[in-house]
């Protein structure tokens, strides 16, 4: 009975939404024009990167804080159980992972650099690096992480701290995160580089800190 009612409600909801989308008028605010007109001052030539790190830098700053918060929350609910080593130590898989990891690192650096003028950027680069770490872990070359020590903690928060430092340094100019056009490109590259490392560590940590043998409950 419940199943039927929920399915009917969800279908009705979808029909109403589809109906609304098929009759959608033009957008009340067109943001494409201001984005394009100010692109020259943003320090990068790719619009999405400009939105992420310049026009709407707040979003990205808070997003990094959310990621860090999620990692801290994950740390509080995991036990001090034994760190797991997956039992998949096949030589072919390990060789493949050893070959793939340097390539993934190169791809990550390329993505970071390409973010200035084409799709790419810190988040994509960070997730590729984190995927490389997860791959190494799954074939048994990298153990799961215990609770992070000082160097790892510094690496995890470096992105947020750098971003915050740049933001407060810009406060002297009147507004948080308002870069001067002449320095914007360099500042964005600095933030993105540190963010890549921190995001890779955070995303890899979300997996590697959870990868433990279950302790006695």
């Amino acid at each position: 009975m419940k199943r039927l009612a929920v399915t009917a409600l969800a279908t009705g909801f979808a029909v109403v939404l589809v109906e609304a989308m098929l009759n959608l008028g033009p957008a009340a605010i067109d943001l494409r024009i201001p984005v394009r007109e100010n692109l020259a001052e943003s320090g990068v030539s790719h619009a999405v990167t400009a939105v992420l790190l310049n026009y709407r830098g707040y979003d990205t700053l808070l997003e990094v804080a959310v990621l860090l918060l999620a990692l801290v929350a994950v740390l509080t609910v995991t036990d001090e159980a034994d760190v797991a080593f997956p039992h998949m130590e096949h030589p072919v898989l390990q060789t493949l992972a050893r070959l793939a990891t340097p390539l993934m690192t190169v791809v990550a650096v390329y993505l970071l650099w390409a973010g200035a003028f084409r799709p790419g950027g810190a988040f994509q680069a960070g997730s590729v690096l984190a995927a490389a770490a997860v791959l190494l872990h799954l074939v048994g070359l990298l153990p799961g992480w215990r609770s992070p020590r000082l160097p790892l903690r510094l690496g995890l928060v470096a992105g947020l701290l750098t971003f915050l430092a740049v933001a407060t340094a810009m406060l002297a100019r009147g507004a948080l995160l308002e870069y001067p056009p002449s320095m914007a490109g360099g500042l964005i590259l600095l933030i993105e580089s540190v963010l890549t490392v921190s995001l890779a560590l955070i995303l890899a940590g979300l997996f590697l800190l959870l990868s433990r043998d279950e302790g006695p409950s």
């Binding site: 399915t7 939404l17 989308m21 957008a27 999405v48 997003e63 950027g121 979300l206 279950e214």
Partner: protein
């Protein structure tokens, strides 16, 4: 019908099935999957509607990029809590869910 509108309509279908899944499914892992399906649907709607016109609007695209990363973090947190719950109780369903 443009490609962007097709994306948005697919997103609506995904979102609606995700909502139904979150309400109907008791197993926590599958419920997290359904929740992710909802998120993916919302992202598809944003990206799809952003490219209704010839030039895509970069602002929704940047928002979706932000949203994807936050969704990954939320999923990891949900999985960590599910795992702890499973370790403590040996169950993967919340109590009180079975009064269908």
């Amino acid at each position: 019908m443009t490609g962007g509108l097709l994306f948005a309509l697919t997103g609506v279908a995904l979102f609606a099935s995700g909502v139904a899944g979150v309400v109907l499914i008791d197993n926590l892992l599958r419920r997290i999957l359904a929740f992710n399906l909802m998120g993916s649907g919302a992202f598809l709607v944003l990206v799809g509607l952003a490219q209704r016109n010839e030039v895509a609007d970069p602002v929704p695209q940047a928002m979706v990029l932000t949203g994807i990363v936050v969704a990954v973090a939320a999923t990891a947190l949900a999985l960590a809590m599910t795992r702890k719950y499973h370790a403590l109780t040996g169950r993967l369903e919340l109590t009180g869910d079975d009064n269908d």
